[in-house]
Symmetry: C2
Subunit: 342 residues, 2 copies
């Protein structure tokens, strides 16, 4: 039996570069160059190869490329949630930053779980990514170990680190929590409650900022804190408003750790006939699109989510290319949006 490209025992049936080369009458290596480094090949050959590619419908095999070049052209991104608009905007920024670079972006959803994060990192490392973008600063010791061993460049997003060797893009969650609380205090509120859910890293640090500000104003009172581990939803915000009012009936303002909870709290206040903000001020965090439009509009903290993704991806790309970044820590700040609800 004659062995041709078409009937080799283990062949996948796909068009290979070798077939393209044969059709163009050049060596495989030349075909490879014509495709990936067109400048190194004469016009005539390049044209012949291009034509063969089109005629045969050649699609390069990424696995073979990765194996031969030990460059995967993959960037892995881990976010704690895909249903949270915050992180989808981060992703949008990342995609836009990497758009022209032929990187394949692997999106992983850790669901706010360290265990899941560890599992995903392990899986993604199998793809030998050129770089990784992680959300948050705190990762389990095992994860840090694994990442160090793998020597994959990593950029952390969302918060600012005190460890200046880490590459970080974000803003200070503590400062932002402090700023919002400070704003409520300046508005004359005394009994300011804090509602936190999910209790991920970011919530905890916002709570830390809240506590700092309350302590500075001698207003701290643990009765004013409602913290639960469940995922943040509008329904939960509605429920936790009730819990807060039961626990601290004299509460005159509530700082919700994110806008979803705040929306729920406002809707619930309306249903109970509590006037916002005259009886009770409510504010949130993140400035989701609905916050500016709802009635009353929501006082909240606008966070540079898109830019965090964008800048983090740029930074990672620079590091992958071996460039020395101007700074390893990028603080993109935040903006307090004073609106009707507080």
């Amino acid at each position: 039996m004659i062995k041709t490209a078409a009937n080799k025992s283990r062949a996948s049936g796909r068009i290979t570069l070798a077939m393209v080369a044969e059709r163009a009458g050049v060596a495989t290596m030349t075909a490879s160059r014509a495709i990936t480094q067109p400048d190194m090949v004469s016009q005539a050959l390049r044209d012949r190869v291009d034509q063969a590619v089109v005629e045969l419908g050649y699609v390069p095999n990424r696995a073979a490329r990765a194996l031969a070049s030990s460059q995967s052209k993959v960037i892995a991104v881990l976010v704690p949630s895909l249903s949270n608009a915050v992180f989808t905007e981060v992703l949008a920024g990342i995609q836009d930053a990497l758009d022209a670079d032929d990187y394949q972006i692997l999106i992983g959803n850790t669901r706010y779980s360290d265990k899941e994060e560890e599992k995903l990192i392990g899986t993604y490392l199998q793809s030998n990514p050129d770089g990784m973008l992680l959300s948050g600063l705190s990762h389990s010791a095992r994860v840090q170990q694994i990442l160090t061993n793998s020597r994959v460049p990593v950029v952390s997003m969302m918060d600012m680190s005190t460890d200046t060797t880490q590459l970080t893009v974000g803003f200070s969650q503590v400062q932002a929590g402090h700023a919002m609380t400070h704003y409520l205090i300046e508005k004359g509120h005394q009994r300011i409650g804090f509602i936190g859910a999910q209790l991920d890293e970011r919530t905890l640090r916002r709570a830390e900022g809240y506590r700092q500000a309350m302590r500075e104003a001698s207003l701290a009172d643990s009765k004013l804190e409602v913290m639960v581990g469940e995922p943040s939803t509008i329904a939960l915000g509605a429920e936790l408003l009730g819990r807060m009012l039961a626990q601290a009936p004299d509460c005159d303002a509530i700082f919700c750790c994110n806008d979803d909870l705040a929306h729920g709290a406002i809707y619930q206040a309306q249903r109970r006939g509590i006037a916002v903000p005259s009886q009770l001020a409510i504010c949130g965090f993140n400035d989701l699109p609905a916050s500016a439009w709802m009635n009353p509009s929501l006082t909240t903290v606008a966070t540079p989510r898109y830019r965090i993704g964008y800048e983090a991806a740029r930074l990672l790309r620079a590091v992958i290319k071996g460039e020395q970044p101007a700074s390893r820590q990028i603080d993109l700040g935040f903006t307090l949006m004073a609106r009707e609800s507080a």
Copy 2:
């Protein structure tokens, strides 16, 4: 110079299966089997290999695996948007369905663009995916051509197809649009407006259902339609309410093609002092979490997004495994949620 695994010219520096095998004192092939098909190897060898894996911190190289086995263990998923909660819930369903299967999920965001979709499919085909999950039924001729040539199994999500050869999981957008309109008609509304944005496939089919119902009741009037190509946002909903009222001042109900627009319309109505629903009924589509909580709560159509993702992934998995699916079309239906706003 002695050539060992560690100093070969093109070696990547990573721990390879060969090193694991050497350490365990077995052949590479045996190590491979001990890891991927443990049942085929004796207990003793399996233990030795497992130990070597741990000691060396071996991470399999997915590219090499894919190349050697011509199985990528990759499933590519294309959605038109990541900021739209509808599709992130579809993704959640997909992830849950595939959780235990060691598939790597490539998430692609087409941004509602056929061109982008074509580009992404081309890119993902390079990874030789075992299967693909696409949103919607209508794809450009080129895309269909490419997909046919590639022989990759494809499942389409979100709508029902008339073409019974296609694998489809979703619900009838036309019927859902019809049902909502019919509901408004039964409630006694005569001048029912339709607000559509983005004008993607799903919006157009919902509009089709709306028109059918209006025609059946002899209520059709093109003045009652406001259609724009911009992406759906709350802000746009607010704006389009104004446009609708300018265009058809006698309008007594509005069917928004999705909840985001409906939210914006309701907020805007409130700001203009228009009572909802007594002066103007407003309803949406998709039943986002906020819809049940806002005041007034939103009448809308609940869609089985999570289940669409889940069932589509299951179906695809079955097809990949070579099973004959019980049915090629899965209709998961929809539920009209009658609430306060209409």
